[in-house]
């Protein structure tokens, strides 16, 4: 099997998994919301309502497609497309598991191990703003424009703190930007230099503050509560997707859930050791290599699902910020803390070594 064929299969698989997880995130969101409010949630379509996403998808496709007459038709269609494409693009640099081995050749479970991985992630994620901005502008609707402006200013503000919190991680991996390197570094070495559990050397134990900042910024980037001001239903009707209908609206909603999935994957990679799990070395001695790889993929997805659950859990716990509070949090609190964190990390590394 040539490496190109393997990558092609991986790309298609990732695409399908992203869409599948996004579809079932909508279901999970409704279920989690229901459970947290002592309800049952959707349970009519299929066993436990498991066919609900399909019913929702069919509904979305069959809805009437409305393009406002006063809107810019080209941009109106471009908006959701850009949003969807950018959200899907991020998954390319995430290592989903340990490399597989077939006939002496290794196949990395990562579409592209580019050496600027995390930079690519930050870049593509900020491109996602264009999808929202274009969509909101092209709608020719005051609410949509307000939502789009809120979204873009919010995402730009929080990207700074996000980038700063990532810098602290990069300092710990000798400045390597490749996500693969970051994940591998968390699988080797002893925790705090003396606790010897293989695959447990996670960044979150060294950088809890950076993790917290990154998590908060990930909420803001994914436009989730408590930072869902761009689409706050109670103030802006639907925000930037007020004028959208049918599958174009579906793409926006879908994109948000894929965003959530990708954000969870990145959090898992940067702070929770990616596919590493305690005892990964020991398992490697008693099981065939590919078996361990598959287990590592499952562990990775377990971590991702936990963070997706965390996203939902927080959504149904905390109310929405006021806009000035949001900006104050981003610029006056998270930014300084992130910068101080970077300085402290750098000082600690200079003084004590790694």
């Amino acid at each position: 099997m040539s490496i190109i064929l393997f990558k092609a299969i991986l790309v298609v698989l990732l695409f399908l998994i992203s869409l599948g997880i996004a579809a079932y995130s909508t279901y999970a969101e409704r279920k989690v919301a229901a459970f947290l409010q002592d309800r049952i949630g959707p349970d009519r379509a299929g066993p436990f309502g498991l066919l609900q996403p399909i019913a929702d998808g069919v509904k979305m496709f069959l809805k009437e497609e409305i393009i406002p007459t006063m809107s810019d038709k080209f941009l109106f269609i471009l908006g959701p497309s850009v949003f969807m494409v950018t959200t899907l693009m991020v998954s390319a640099v995430i290592p989903w598991g340990m490399p597989l081995e077939f006939g002496g050749e290794t196949y990395a479970l990562q579409v592209a191990d580019i050496n600027i991985g995390i930079l690519y992630v930050l870049g593509v994620v900020s491109l996602g703003v264009y999808g929202i901005m274009i969509g909101g502008w092209a709608s020719n609707n005051k609410y949509a424009l307000l939502g789009a402006i809120r979204a873009s200013s919010q995402m730009i503000s929080y990207e700074l703190a996000m980038g700063m919190s990532v810098v602290a991680i990069l300092l710990m991996t000798n400045g390597s930007l490749s996500i693969n390197n970051i994940v591998e570094a968390q699988g080797t070495g002893k925790l705090y230099g003396f606790i010897n559990v293989s695959g447990m050397n996670w960044n979150v134990f060294y950088q809890p503050v950076a993790f917290l900042i990154f998590l908060i910024c990930a909420f803001a980037e994914a436009n989730r509560t408590p930072f869902d001001l761009p689409e706050s239903e109670s103030e802006l009707i639907g925000g930037f997707h007020t004028e959208y209908s049918s599958m174009k609206l579906g793409l926006y909603l879908f994109g948000e859930y894929i965003n959530m999935f990708i954000s969870s994957a990145i959090i898992a990679c940067l702070f929770f050791g990616g596919y590493n799990f305690p005892g990964i070395d020991y398992l490697g001695t008693i099981l065939p290599h590919n078996m361990v790889s598959i287990i590592s993929v499952l562990v990775m997805f377990g971590k991702i699902f936990f963070f997706i659950f965390l996203f939902m859990w927080v959504r149904w716990t905390i109310p929405r910020f006021r806009y000035d509070q949001l900006m104050r949090l981003g610029w006056q609190i998270l930014m300084p803390i992130a910068i101080v964190n970077v300085l402290l990390t750098a000082a600690a590394i200079t003084l004590f070594g790694n």
Partner: protein
């Protein structure tokens, strides 16, 4: 002037540093919501499971028949008099020969109407009835399209012979 000792001074103290972090508050909030994840769910799967009405529930009225299928009501008018909403009207008529199997006593209600929009479901008609004729049941008044349709006549109120309404729970035994 102090009237009671129960008055409290309202204060808005400055938040401490820990409180300003908001994180402890958020974590305690998360704890509360996660507890609800494992609570017993309050939902009833409605069409399959129906919530039982309380035995004192007062819904749509029924005009009872006796064991032989004869109407109990003698059109005495006590229910109409007792009705605080003035929702009940009736016309009395005399029982003819050969109608003994339809009406229990010599007088009966030829017309018996309750305006369901006026009715306040207090149950005083049931209290007033000396003939065990009118009862409030746990049935829900059906919805209609016009106001006129809410004036229910005997066709809606008298129980069907082959579809009797069980009011045994609401029957009260009085003893003097």
């Amino acid at each position: 002037m102090q009237l009671t000792n129960r008055s409290k001074v309202v204060t808005q103290p400055e938040m401490t540093w820990v409180e300003k972090l908001y994180l402890p508050a958020i974590f305690s909030g998360l704890q509360i919501t996660i507890k609800h994840l494992f609570r017993k769910k309050a939902t009833l799967k409605y069409p399959e499971v129906k919530k039982e009405f309380a035995s004192v529930y007062r819904g749509m009225h029924v005009l009872k028949r006796d064991e032989q299928g004869r109407e109990n009501c003698t059109a005495c008018g006590l229910c109409a008099v007792s009705c605080p909403a003035e929702a009940i009207t009736m016309d009395a008529a005399e029982r003819k020969k050969g109608e003994e199997h339809l009406y229990r006593e010599e007088k009966y209600a030829a017309k018996y109407e309750i305006n369901m929009l006026r009715c306040i479901y207090c149950g005083l008609c049931e209290e007033a009835c000396p003939k065990d004729a009118i009862y409030l049941t746990d049935r829900i008044v059906p919805s209609e399209y016009t106001r006129g349709e809410f004036v229910f006549g005997k066709d809606m109120l008298v129980e069907k012979i082959d579809d009797r309404v069980d009011v045994s729970k609401r029957k009260k035994e009085y003893s003097i």
